[in-house]
């Protein structure tokens, strides 16, 4: 493996891992804030217990999300110094804004929320969890703005003297059509991830007879169903936009080698990949690919072979087709798991409407299994969008092969890959065991009440 391949392997590994925790943090922070708001309005002690219960899950998760995010930020300079040198002027700005506008907000108010129970005035304490939620959603905003620039670079010019990309229109960065749709897509997918987790955990508790969790389950269902529908709708729109700016990405997702009009969508295929241009397509849905790629049943999708010829003319000799096998299957994995989640949400709402939700043990069983599906969905979605940009690191401007750090040796990258892999595996095991433990605990009988002695109100609790 070349140094670039190793650096890619490490980046893929650490980013996928990081993004296991991010959407749950964003989603669960939002849902916890809703539970606390409901407690604030109704004064029902059960809602307070539920807020603390799911807040605890959020904390276990947030810890790993934060620390694995550090790796992401350092990694650009460590492994991709040529990339950083080339794009820092444009790409660095959203990262710095993220720190200033989002991370400070999230971390400060998380501390205030966590240590402020019974010490801050109730309204202020409620505001803290909402600010945590806003902070986590804002951090995704800046990251997606930076990532969308890699998919569809806008608002820059190339400096004649040093050949680097330089920002010349910051508004363009945040009105990039890829950014707007990708950000909404990520937000809705995060709400889905949090809601499915809440539904599944509540399901486990309800099956054990802890009926107090029913209200949390209902809250999660209210969030889940519209979120998954919106995530799919925005995602479909994102596909149409990407078909304009990154036609290779969409053509590869259907393994569409020849130009077609209208184009059908295959549910499965046997074979396929970059060396097999004629795989066996199973169950073809007519017009569906045209609709997905162009919003029109009769739209044209330019095939990979034609695109390859176009790119060679535009960018010189080279192979410009991304890994078709990964594109084809990550697209389907994402779409199918999303559909399964949508069905789960619809089923829950239906049972609730028919007043059969509480006793439907089989549904709660499904909800528990369902916890895993958003992780597959999110990961597949990122594979689709990042793999589909290859061989570019910045679409049309810089290839991945020329972006790595020249001074870092293969041995050094191997060391860091192994170190991060080991640390991440250990973290993952601890995360899972703590999450299981926390999710299976029953709600406490009596909440510890606020201390009577008001003079000690400002003393931080022994939370850790």
């Amino acid at each position: 493996m070349s140094n670039v391949d190793l650096a890619r392997l490490q980046f893929a590994m650490t980013s996928i891992y990081h993004f296991l925790f991010v959407p749950l943090t964003i989603g669960l922070a939002f849902l916890t804030a809703i539970l606390q708001t409901r407690w604030h309005r109704s004064g029902d002690p059960n809602l307070r217990k539920l807020t603390r219960f799911f807040g605890n899950l959020l904390l276990i998760n947030i810890a790993i999300g934060v620390v694995t995010g550090l790796v992401q930020e350092f990694q650009f300079g460590m492994n991709w110094s040529e990339y950083s040198r080339f794009v820092g002027d444009v790409f660095g700005a959203p990262l710095a804004m993220e720190g200033l506008a989002a991370f400070f907000l999230e971390s400060t108010f998380l501390g205030l929320w966590l240590f402020g129970w019974d010490r801050l005035p109730k309204k202020l304490h409620l505001a803290c969890i909402w600010l945590v939620s806003i902070g986590s959603a804002l951090s995704a905003l800046f990251i997606i703005a930076a990532n969308s620039w890699m998919q569809n670079p806008v608002g820059y010019q190339i400096n004649d003297q040093n050949g680097r990309a330089q920002l010349d229109d910051v508004v363009a960065i945040f009105t990039n059509p890829v950014f707007i749709n990708a950000y909404l897509h990520v937000l809705f997918a995060s709400a889905v991830t949090g809601a499915v987790m809440m539904l599944g955990v509540a399901g486990y508790q309800i099956r054990k007879g802890n009926k107090q969790f029913l209200t949390a389950a209902k809250t999660s269902l209210v969030v889940l169903f519209p979120s998954i529908i919106l995530a799919m709708g925005v995602g479909s729109e994102l596909g149409v936009i990407e078909a304009t700016y990154q036609p290779m990405k969409i053509a590869a997702a259907e393994a569409q080698w020849e130009t077609c009009q209208p184009c059908s969508f295959s549910l499965f295929q046997i074979g396929g990949g970059n060396d097999d241009q004629d795989p066996k397509q199973i169950i073809e849905v007519p017009y569906l690919l045209s609709i997905l790629a162009t919003n029109s049943p009769d739209g044209q999708v330019v095939g990979l072979n034609e695109l390859q010829a176009q790119y060679e003319q535009e960018y010189g000799p080279g192979y410009y087709v991304p890994n078709v096998f990964v594109q084809y299957w990550s697209m389907r994995l994402m779409a199918y798991t999303a559909s399964a989640v949508a069905l789960l949400g619809a089923l829950g709402l239906f049972l609730w409407w028919r007043k059969k939700l509480e006793g439907a043990r089989w549904f709660w069983g499904l909800a528990i299994i369902g916890i895993f599906t958003p992780y597959v969905m999110n990961t597949a979605g990122w594979m689709l969008t990042e793999n589909g940009r290859q061989p570019w690191i910045v679409q049309g401007l810089m290839k991945t092969e020329s972006a790595a750090s020249p001074s870092v040796t293969a041995l050094e990258i191997w060391i860091s890959i192994i170190v991060f892999a080991l640390v991440y595996i250990i973290l993952g095991v601890i995360w899972a065991s703590l999450m299981f433990r926390a999710a299976r605990k029953p709600l406490p009988e009596d909440e510890p009440t606020a201390p009577d002695d008001k003079s000690r109100d400002d003393v931080p609790a022994l939370t850790y």
Binding site: S81, R85, G99, L100, L114, L462
Partner: protein, 357 residues
């Protein structure tokens, strides 16, 4: 004033802020084992920084991201040359971050003791390694004309970098002990004060050595840097003096001034370079040749001018809200059963832990 210079100043402020703020919570992270004799006392020590450490660490993230945005070439060369050192820093930061959150999540003596050690070691590694890194910026690393590092891991271990790292570590320990003295009562406070004096004296000796090395060596006698060095030395000395008099706030302020002054002196010595090349002075990365374009810097300045006061305001408010001293409770709070004021022996605790499952 050129915007690139402004951003050098802003970045210096972030790094100074990071070492001043994270400095004391790194120190507490190391020392919590030694000022606390049982689990409750250790928890008290850790909880003095509970509401703050996460936000303090963000100063490093923003300091790094600001280098990326304002000086892409500096970010690219620095982070790729310090590769293995930064891998270690990241592992330490990861372990530290989860140690806070995870330590209290299980009622097992072995679990807590394990995370305690993890917290101590990782908290010590961070200032040591980062100190070596920032020291190397000034003393110089082999960098070629393409701004690429040409050395190996061993080139990073310069005597000057190592002295900078050790000095910063000891100053963090002194600062952490001073913070603990300020935020605790009774036995923990007494032990912390004793440690603050001890580390303050060692820190002062190291800082003076570091100042001499800097001025006679890589930094040279730069007026502004000399001012910060004097501030640092006086701050640490005042910290020790006030500590012996039991004046916690003044002592902590002095020690914090010591760290801040030292880091400020380093950045003042480095300017107008951002990274010195030991290969040839012509290859030095400078504020002028490593910076972003003026448009990007203008946008960033606007964002910083708006956001920074807001961030400062709510961080200060956070410190104000949790300003009181922590006390070891006579009875443990209800949410942690199983851990009594007197620590049960390991075997007994294992049993109770199994019962919980």
């Amino acid at each position: 004033m050129d915007l690139a210079n402004v951003w050098y100043l802003i970045i210096a402020i972030f790094w100074i802020g990071f070492f001043v703020l994270e400095g004391f919570d790194l120190g507490v992270g190391v020392l919590h084992r030694f000022v606390g004799n049982d689990d409750v006392e250790r928890r008290v020590a850790i909880n003095t920084i509970g509401p703050f450490w996460d936000a303090n660490e963000v100063w490093l993230i923003v300091g790094g991201a600001a280098i990326f945005a304002a000086f892409p070439a500096w970010y690219a060369t620095m982070f790729s040359s310090l590769y293995l050192a930064l891998v270690l820093v990241l592992v330490a930061l990861i372990v530290r971050g989860v140690a806070f959150e995870f330590r209290g999540k299980r009622d097992s003596q072995r679990w807590r003791s394990g995370w305690s050690w993890a917290l101590t070691i990782s908290s010590a590694l961070v200032p040591l390694l980062l100190g070596v890194g920032v020291g190397d910026l000034l003393v110089g690393l082999p960098i070629d004309a393409d701004q690429n590092f040409t050395g190996t891991f061993w080139n990073l271990l310069t005597p000057y970098g190592l002295l900078t790292g050790v000095t910063l570590l000891v100053l963090c320990l002194a600062d952490g002990a001073a913070f603990l003295a300020l935020k605790t009562t009774d036995d923990i406070r007494e032990r912390s004060r004793a440690l603050a004096v001890r580390f303050g004296i060692i820190g002062l000796i190291l800082a003076v050595l570091w100042v001499l090395y800097t001025v006679l060596g890589p930094g040279g006698p730069k007026p502004l840097a000399l001012v910060f060095m004097v501030v640092a030395a006086l701050g640490i000395a005042a910290g020790v003096l006030y500590q012996t008099k039991g004046r916690d706030t003044a002592a902590f302020t002095g020690t914090a001034l010591g760290i801040g002054g030292a880091v400020a002196a380093l950045f003042a010595s480095l300017f107008p370079n951002v990274m010195v090349s030991s290969t040839s002075a012509a290859n030095n990365l400078t504020v002028a040749n490593a910076s972003s374009g003026s448009y990007a810097l203008t946008i960033m300045t606007v964002v910083a001018v708006i956001m920074f006061p807001i961030v400062l305001a709510y961080q200060i408010w956070n410190y104000y809200v949790f300003r009181a001293r922590l006390q070891a409770p006579k009875e443990l709070v209800a949410d942690v059963p199983g851990l009594k004021r007197d620590v049960p022996d390991a075997g007994k605790d294992e049993t109770s832990d199994r019962q919980h499952q």
